[in-house]
């Protein structure tokens, strides 16, 4: 039995408890994993998400450059170029032992052109967190500094404004400060238009710094706008060169010139001398930064006379062929004297303008009510803003009075007792050239000519222009302003500068005019303030500037010179007023 029993083959038997232990162990492991996974993903996912975001989420912002300023033909007048600011975090410099390798500081000092000690002094205080070491360094220098790898020294994007035209347009365009905010001229007035804001975006970056996901826009940026001025850089350059020459030659306090397009009221050039270089600001003198063409007003003197004639013609107080006696070269008005340089005898209106006779124009003025004349002065834009969008305009003024003495009425007709700026003067002459229609002036390029107001009838404006031709011809006061090929309707002016209690010894030399008479295109006003020496007459000082700029500008604009036949016709028109 026992033997047999021993022979029984034992069936293989499962050892149940082992199996259970193993299964139990595996199940436990799996459930542990599941629980852990569930814990991470469901119960508390935020912490890991946060950790991940810390490593990958970044906010980027693009650098926005200030808008360009160009002239009417697309020539650049102001361009922004990105540069870098070098700044230091002194706390970090100290923390990471930034002074370990002094050779690097030496190199940094050399490339920034600053004494090493100054730089070290700036980062001395470990409590500070932000110190500028140098602003507006070029990208090449910035790259060099980046490679110096001094701990705590960082670079920041900023931009630098360049003015390729330099001093030629300096007062007009103005300046930006180091933080790219316009502080003068057009830069100031159009600051918001020119300035853009960067777009800030939340992005996810991969380990090697590539953007792999754009998540959201934190702040929608605004694109900067460009500005197209009405200025024609070629004419501006010419105008500046000539006014500078005249100011220096006559040792004048300042000179200014404005060139207007008579049909659109656009300012083609506006220059002031002395000027400054806006690209290098170390020696900036504030008096050079004034845009004298609009900020400084003066008594217009004889340049106002054509408008007295025009007013008299318009309102019927004189006929075009009127003859006025100016003998004996002076006259007594209300106990005071009005005088000419010499006795001119009987003069036509054209000759009164050509000889610039104070007596003649006073008689004309006294023959009409003073309100009529003042009314015309106001409608020509005197004593009021021109509407040009530039900071600091001084609109000048017209003396207000309830009772005008005869002498005051006389002086009003030869440009005393009222003040105007260069732009206003040019605008008045542009009105003559535009058939008597006064246009608002614009410093921005216009797409269509603006609405104007008719001050004189086209006939009167034409007649006065024909009369004014005599000024630049033989026997006139400004032969120097004559241009061969382009007939000029212009007028000189030499006004004494008012000082406290009367008039002083300084003069303002003026010339303003329109050309060509047969087909008016440009109006120019030239003002030279306080020329030294004996040569102070408007025709001598300002006349040549006018002639050079006018003929050059008309040539640049491809205006056809007058033909022989037309010349004969014009001369006949002019003679008809004698």
């Amino acid at each position: 039995m026992s033997k047999k029993q021993a022979k029984v083959i034992k069936k293989p038997q499962l050892i149940q408890w082992r199996l259970k232990v193993v299964i139990g162990f595996i199940l436990f492991l799996f459930s542990a994993l599941v629980v852990r996974a569930a814990y991470i993903q469901v119960v508390e996912p935020d912490k890991l998400r946060h950790e991940s975001d810390m490593r990958t989420l970044r906010t980027t912002s693009n650098q926005v450059q200030r808008g360009l300023i160009t002239d009417r033909n697309g020539d650049m007048l102001a361009v922004s170029v990105p540069v870098k600011a070098v700044w230091a975090d002194p706390k970090e410099v100290h923390k990471f032992d930034g002074f370990k390798d002094m050779r690097r500081w030496k190199a940094l000092a050399d490339v920034l052109h600053e004494p090493e000690q100054t730089l070290l002094d700036r980062v001395k205080d470990p409590k500070k967190r932000y110190v500028y070491l140098k602003r507006q360094v070029t990208p090449a220098v910035a790259e060099y500094i980046r490679q110096l790898k001094i701990p705590g020294i960082r670079l920041k994007d900023e931009s630098r404004r360049y003015y390729p035209a330099g001093e030629i347009t300096a007062q007009l365009i103005g300046l930006t400060n180091i933080d790219d905010v316009g502080i003068e001229g057009i830069e100031k007035n159009y600051n918001d238009w020119l300035t853009g804001t960067p777009t800030k975006q939340k992005v996810r970056k991969s380990r090697d710094g590539h953007v792999v996901e754009r998540l959201s826009t934190v702040q929608q940026g605004e694109k900067p706008n460009d500005l197209v001025l009405s200025i024609d850089q070629r004419i501006q350059q010419l105008a500046y060169r000539e006014i500078k020459k005249a100011t220096e030659l006559n040792q004048a306090a300042w000179g200014s010139i404005v060139v207007l397009d008579v049909h659109t009221g656009e300012v083609l050039a506006m220059a002031t001398s002395p000027s400054y270089n806006p690209n290098s600001r170390e020696h900036l003198q504030s008096f050079r930064m004034r845009n004298r063409a609009i900020t400084d007003s003066f008594e217009p003197g004889s340049t106002i006379k054509p408008f007295v004639v025009a007013s008299a013609l318009q309102d019927g107080y004189a006929k075009a062929d009127e003859i006025i006696s100016t003998s004996p070269g002076w006259m007594r008005v209300g106990g005071r004297q009005v005088r000419d340089s010499h006795n001119n005898g009987n003069l036509s209106l054209a000759k009164i303008l050509a000889k610039s006779s104070n007596v003649g124009i006073s008689k004309l003025s006294l023959s009409m009510p003073v309100e009529k004349l003042l009314d015309k002065y106001y409608s020509l834009g005197l004593g009021n803003y021109t509407g040009i969008d530039l900071p600091g305009e001084a609109p000048g003024m017209i003396r207000e009075s309830h009772r005008w003495s005869d002498f005051e009425r006389a002086t009003l007709s030869f440009g005393y007792g009222l003040t105007a700026n260069t732009l206003q003067l040019a605008r008045m002459y542009a009105t003559l050239g535009n058939g008597g229609k006064l246009l608002p002036v614009s410093i921005l390029k216009l797409t269509k000519p603006p609405e104007g107001t008719q001050v004189f009838s086209p006939k009167v404006a034409k007649d006065v222009m024909y009369m004014l031709q005599g000024v630049t011809e033989a026997g006139g006061t400004a032969r120097q302003a004559h241009i061969n090929g382009y007939p000029v309707a212009g007028k000189t002016g030499t006004s004494r500068k008012a000082v406290a209690g009367g008039y002083g010894d300084d003069y303002v030399s003026l010339f303003a005019g329109v050309a060509p008479v047969n087909n008016p295109r440009l109006a120019i006003a030239v003002v030279v303030n306080a020329p030294e020496g004996d040569r102070y007459y408007g025709g001598v000082v300002s006349g040549p500037v006018f002639a050079k700029v006018m003929s050059g500008a008309l040539q640049l604009l491809n205006v056809e010179p007058i033909s022989k036949a037309e010349q004969v016709k014009l001369a006949a028109m002019e003679r008809s007023f004698d």
Partner: protein, 104 residues
């Protein structure tokens, strides 16, 4: 005991066949998952490329600005006038000597 007619592979195949729709669906789910992964990979790459293009644009803009400045100083009309008058002995004709040709 069972005979050879009951082979395991056969049973498996039969079983799969009876659940063929379920099987298909699970396959679709898997393919879908792979597609999601692939698409997000491609989209990341495209985003990276886009970003690089934007940077490229900024770089070109900077270059353009510097070239503008260079062009401006080279094409400066006073410089051209100087070269024309001094080096090339040119003069500007007087207005009276000028003939304007009009193109009809």
């Amino acid at each position: 005991m069972a005979k050879s007619s009951l082979s395991l592979p056969r049973i498996i195949v039969q079983d799969m066949w009876s659940h063929k729709w379920l099987l298909l669906l699970s396959f679709v789910v898997f393919a879908n998952a792979v597609a999601v992964v692939y698409t997000s990979y491609v989209s990341r790459q495209l985003t990276t490329k886009w970003d690089q293009q934007l940077q490229q644009r900024d770089k070109l803009d900077i270059e353009w600005r510097n070239l503008l400045l260079e062009e401006q100083s080279l094409a400066d009309s006073s410089r051209i006038t100087r070269i024309a008058t001094k080096e090339l002995d040119m003069t500007r004709p007087l207005p009276s000597e000028e003939v304007v040709v009009k193109i009809p």
